[in-house]
């Protein structure tokens, strides 16, 4: 009994059951023997009734339609009753086949939708990785001097001894600082390369460079590059209010060097 119930529930409605029966016959819908079909359908419904199962009203309606068709068709043609008011378009046989054909097409379409549904489950849309558009070329706010300064910091951190080796007594950073300060007092702008032009040894270059870095840090000088690839110039920083002595590095700008802003934007 439960077996029947299960089976019965497979059918979405009377048309579905009819289609199933047609399919069992292995004939085209148009060729199906409606009388036979009606008999089978009614047998099905009767069985379910006997089993006292709930049957959707639509099945009973269909059963009665089929019984009507069957009874009509059993009569010779000339004896068939022409029901008053039954006009073309309301022939029950035709109506049924039309409905079946129509229903089958949508059942097939539903099958195709189902395939598309399961395909679509496996279609993954590319979601691009989130781009951070502070792309380096545009948004980094550091100058090349920050960079060099960082090297300097590292070197200092490591090697008080080494620096002594390198920086011979001949040149001290403090002397160079004074020299640069004097130089930029005389002239509004000094080319970066000029600072080093007179250097006689690589040690002097390094010392000069370190001196310059300190002056930048102390905001005694400003460094500017009017555009990418142009020569870097050094100038005296505009006077600033006197304040506390420079804080050590933690608060030293890790970010933008105020004097040089190389944003490529």
């Amino acid at each position: 009994m439960s077996e029947f119930k299960v089976q019965f529930e497979i059918f979405e409605g009377p048309l579905d059951l009819l289609l199933y029966l047609v399919k069992k016959e292995e004939v085209d819908i148009y060729e199906v023997n409606l009388t036979k079909l009606a008999t089978e359908f009614i047998a099905y419904v009767d069985l379910l009734r006997e089993l006292d199962l709930d049957i959707a009203g639509e099945f009973l309606v269909m059963a009665s339609t089929l019984m009507y068709i069957k009874s009509r068709e059993l009569l010779p043609k000339d004896q068939q009753v022409v029901v008053e008011g039954e006009e073309e378009g309301e022939d029950p046989r035709w109506e049924l086949i039309r409905q079946l054909v129509e229903y089958k097409k949508f059942k097939d379409a539903a099958g195709r939708l189902q395939e598309m549904e399961s395909t679509q489950e496996n279609v993954y849309r590319r979601t691009a990785p989130k781009l951070e558009f502070d792309a380096p070329a545009q948004r980094l706010q550091i100058s090349i001097f920050d960079l060099v300064n960082a090297v300097n910091v590292i070197l200092k951190r490591f090697t008080p001894a080494d620096t002594r080796d390198i920086f011979e007594d001949k040149w001290t950073v403090s002397e160079k600082i004074e020299a640069i300060v004097n130089l930029i007092r005389e002239r509004p702008a000094v080319k970066f390369s000029e600072l080093f032009a007179a250097a006689t040894s690589r040690t002097e270059v390094v010392v000069t460079f370190l001196a310059m870095l300190e002056l930048i840090r102390l905001k005694q000088i400003v460094i500017a590059q009017s555009e990418a690839f142009s020569e870097i110039e050094i100038a005296q920083a505009p006077p600033q209010p006197v304040g506390p002595p420079p804080e050590p590095a933690a608060e030293n700008p890790p970010g933008p060097a105020p004097e040089l802003n190389l944003r490529m934007n």
Partner: protein, 246 residues
């Protein structure tokens, strides 16, 4: 740099599908923000131009037959992976969040709505031969079907149609992409002029006369007066109460 390539690059980096209008906006904004002459030259592109290039791009990617394609779903373009790679992609990005599959009754009902929209509930039920209250509820709740208006007939019943979510769910560009759309949209089968009997004494008509095409191409029957169907091409089913049901 071609416009087409730029469109590809934009779509490649998109976080969501983009419509031609979205793309147009990107071009227009970039033109405003950039000094670049090329970028400026794309200030005003027509949607049609973008769409034509999108179609070209999609064809190029189809021809390249790699593991991904460029597709248009519900009017918005996106790169998608071919379904056969799903097992690995699933491992990578996790299960897709997607509502459960539709039941058979829901799919049938949906198919009817998709191909015949807009139509009333009564018309759906006539095709399916059963009541559709439950499945309609499901389809409406899932947002793949919606009320699109009211039929201009007695009682002004609601008309239903599919939503963009329907297209997305099935990966369709538009309703015209539904398989066999031409065939299913038509109201196909009409009663032949006269039914002939197969065998003497039996009323069942021979198949030839019922051949769908013959009838379908004849637009002999005028649209039912009760029909709310606005589409001229598809005169609808007669309203639900055929005499046979009595």
């Amino acid at each position: 740099m071609e416009l087409k390539s730029i469109i590809e690059a934009i779509l490649f980096n998109a976080q969501k599908p983009l419509s031609p209008k979205d793309l147009r906006d990107v071009f227009s904004q970039t033109a405003d923000n950039s000094e670049d002459l090329l970028a400026k030259s794309f200030k005003k592109i027509k949607d049609e131009e973008i769409i034509a290039l999108l179609d070209e791009l999609a064809k190029e990617h189809d021809a390249a037959a790699r593991t991904f394609r460029l597709v248009c779903v519900a009017g918005a373009w996106q790169f998608v992976s071919q379904p056969e790679y799903a097992p690995w992609i699933k491992t990578l990005v996790g299960e897709k969040s997607r509502p459960g599959r539709l039941s058979q009754p829901a799919l049938e009902t949906l198919a009817i709505i998709a191909y015949r929209q807009p139509l009333t509930r009564a018309e759906i039920e006539q095709i399916r031969g059963v009541a559709v209250d439950g499945v309609m509820q499901t389809l409406l709740e899932r947002g793949i079907v919606e009320q699109t208006g009211r039929a201009e007939v007695v009682g002004r019943p609601a008309l239903y149609g599919t939503t963009p979510a329907f297209l997305e769910y099935f990966g369709l560009r538009g309703l015209e992409d539904l398989p066999a759309a031409d065939e299913l949209r038509k109201i196909p089968v009409k009663k032949p002029e006269s039914l002939l009997t197969v065998e003497p004494g039996l009323a069942t008509a021979p198949p030839e006369q019922l051949a769908m095409q013959e009838v379908a191409e004849k637009e002999s029957t005028p649209a039912e007066p009760a029909s709310p169907e606005p589409r001229e091409t598809s005169p609808t089913e007669p309203p639900t109460e055929p005499s046979s049901r009595a």
